[in-house]
């Protein structure tokens, strides 16, 4: 076998000083993504520009589409053709992608969408925001779960983008990376390890399971069905309608509808323990917890450290690395009985809802600390905490 000439352009192991947006694109390439479709929008354009440079170098395809609807639709086609595909956008573009996300969920299409959120509604502004975290879960029409990750550093823009592809291939579903400008535009060190040591998951194909073409059920065999590609000789059947195991959409019945929708929901939600990750610090025995995610967790941990070192406050830190499926079980494992839970977010308290739902029997006081359009300063978070714990 001849060596792939594009290997010359693969990212080599080493230390790099990159923007979060660039690290995200490099992570996608490392995961094996070879199709990028997008439409420029601040503050996500740097990712698009980097992808435009890098995808052709490694034998991938970069396409600037006419809009975000087209961009997200490209991912569906590319994925059905057997290629890992991604797009990067910001909030107004993310709205336009909801239709494709819904089709992606129903047709169980692996694809990765990165939303570098900006404040809204409407065009809003171009700064920092976490105002799409509910849209990530509920923006698409219909039932069906989603996976959404929240990176907090340049390193995680790389690592969690790889993870997003792995999850998307593993569970055959669209995966969202919910990033924010303070990390997407930040330059920091990125460590890249040896390629062969990086865990990459590729979708299961019917061939891999020894299933012959005439025995193949496009929506059967396992909870996550093996995925045939066009050209493989299998009966490829991608549908947006409620369907049976064999892809039949004409025998509709309430039971068929129930089974199909139920499976789409439960394959994610019932595996939340495996999919959803949290990170904690100082949590054991602590009576006051700060729960945050994404860029805000950078400020939150700074505030927690300062409060402990300088003010002697009992304060601990939990970060949601995964927003959806919501890591309810993991949270309940580490938080038993506390006095206050502080939730700083760059919105007016969106993730406070699932947090309260998960922990309402374990905490009396849930305090939202909103910052709109700009990353909280440590002082902002600290002053609110000091006020509440006085």
């Amino acid at each position: 076998m001849t060596k792939d000439p594009h290997e010359l352009y693969w990212l080599k192991p080493g230390r790099y000083y990159l923007q979060g947006s660039e690290a995200c694109v490099e992570g996608a390439l490392m995961a094996g993504c070879r199709v990028f479709a997008g439409y420029p929008i601040t503050p996500a354009s740097e990712a698009l520009e980097h992808a435009a440079r890098r995808f052709p170098q490694v034998g991938g395809r970069f396409i600037q589409m006419e809009d975000e609807i087209g961009s997200a639709s490209v991912l569906i086609g590319a994925s059905w053709g057997g290629t890992k595909a991604m797009t990067v956008t910001s909030s107004p573009g993310f709205s336009l992608m909801q239709e494709a996300i819904s089709i992606g969920i129903m047709s169980e299409t692996p694809m990765v969408i990165v939303d570098i959120q900006r404040p809204g509604p409407g065009q809003g502004y171009i700064t920092a925001s976490q105002e799409d975290v509910m849209q990530a879960r509920w923006g698409h029409h219909g039932e069906g779960a989603i996976i959404a990750l929240a990176p907090a550093s340049v390193q995680e823009m790389f690592d969690l983008t790889i993870e997003a592809f792995n999850l998307s291939e593993r569970w055959r579903t669209p995966v969202l990376v919910m990033a924010e400008e303070p990390v997407a535009h930040l330059r920091e060190l990125l460590y890249v390890g040896e390629r062969k040591k990086i865990n990459i998951f590729n979708r299961k194909k019917p061939q891999d399971l020894g299933i012959k073409p005439d025995a193949y059920l496009p929506w059967g065999h396992e909870v996550v069905a093996p995925m045939a590609n066009w050209g493989d000789g299998y009966n490829v059947n991608f549908v947006g309608l409620v369907h049976k195991e064999d892809g039949n959409v004409t025998d509709w019945s309430p039971q068929v509808n129930y089974d199909c929708t139920r499976r789409l929901l439960s394959k994610i939600e019932e595996n939340a323990r495996e999919i959803a990750q949290i990170e904690t610090k100082f949590i054991k025995g602590s009576r006051n917890v700060v729960i945050s995610y994404g860029a805000v967790s950078r400020t939150a941990i700074e505030a927690v450290m300062e409060a402990r070192e300088q003010n002697g406050l009992d304060l601990s830190y939990v970060r949601l690395k995964t927003l959806w499926p919501f890591p309810e079980e993991s949270l309940r494992e580490v938080i038993n009985d506390v006095d206050n839970i502080f939730i700083p977010e760059m919105n007016f308290g969106m993730m406070k809802h699932p947090i309260v739902e998960a922990l309402r029997d374990r905490c009396k006081n849930f305090v939202s600390i909103p910052s709109i359009g700009i990353l909280h300063s440590p002082e902002h978070i600290l002053s609110k905490i000091v006020e509440e714990t006085k």
Partner: protein, 191 residues
């Protein structure tokens, strides 16, 4: 690993003066060539086009959590508006580096360690106004010599400017290094 020990640099001026580039050069010099952690952020969008475009570098031996500048130790101000906007954040006795051609008025200069660099004039002499950022960077280096090595900055400059301009940018850097001038009474570097 000690938490909270940070060194913070803010560079501000007109959009197009190369503030973002020298922020990136500094960040890379610290992170790639000095083995420290650094976080570099910058203005973007309409903010990056006015008179108060900024670039920030936070440096630490340990982990950097909050990635933005809080109370900078150093402010480079290459426009009056940048100075007016960002001087209030500069910590007391912080280093202030200005170009006297564009910054005329410094409120309470005695609070800071003020230095001048004729960045624009020197850049004109050596080949064009676009090199003023590296002149300013050279001046900054001569004030910070104890915190990073010259070779680190030289390598980071070469990594971040167009290949055909490496030599002239390095020349700008050298001129800046030898031309920084103390302004005010305190010669703190000699103390």
């Amino acid at each position: 690993m000690s938490h909270g020990k940070r060194f913070e640099i803010r560079i501000a001026g007109f959009g197009g003066q190369g503030m973002v580039t020298i922020g990136r050069i500094l960040g890379e010099a610290f992170s790639i060539y000095e083995g420290k952690n650094s976080a570099n952020s910058q203005s973007y969008g309409p903010e990056s086009r006015g008179g108060a475009c900024k670039s920030e570098v936070v440096v630490a031996d340990g982990e950097i959590y909050y990635p933005n500048v809080r109370r900078p130790d150093v402010l480079i101000a290459l426009s009056q508006r940048a100075l007016d906007t960002y001087l209030p954040d500069l910590r007391d006795s912080g280093i202030l580096l200005i170009d006297p051609a564009s910054v005329k008025d410094i409120p309470q200069p005695e609070k800071y360690r003020v230095h001048e660099i004729a960045a624009m004039a020197i850049a004109h002499e050596i080949g064009g106004v676009k090199y003023q950022n590296c002149v300013a960077l050279g001046a900054l280096y001569s004030l910070l010599a104890e915190v990073l090595k010259e070779s680190s900055l030289r390598k980071a400059i070469a990594d971040n400017v167009p290949p055909e301009t490496v030599d002239i940018n390095l020349k700008a850097f050298e001129r800046g290094m030898s031309s920084v001038r103390r302004y005010g009474a305190e010669d703190w570097l000699r103390q």
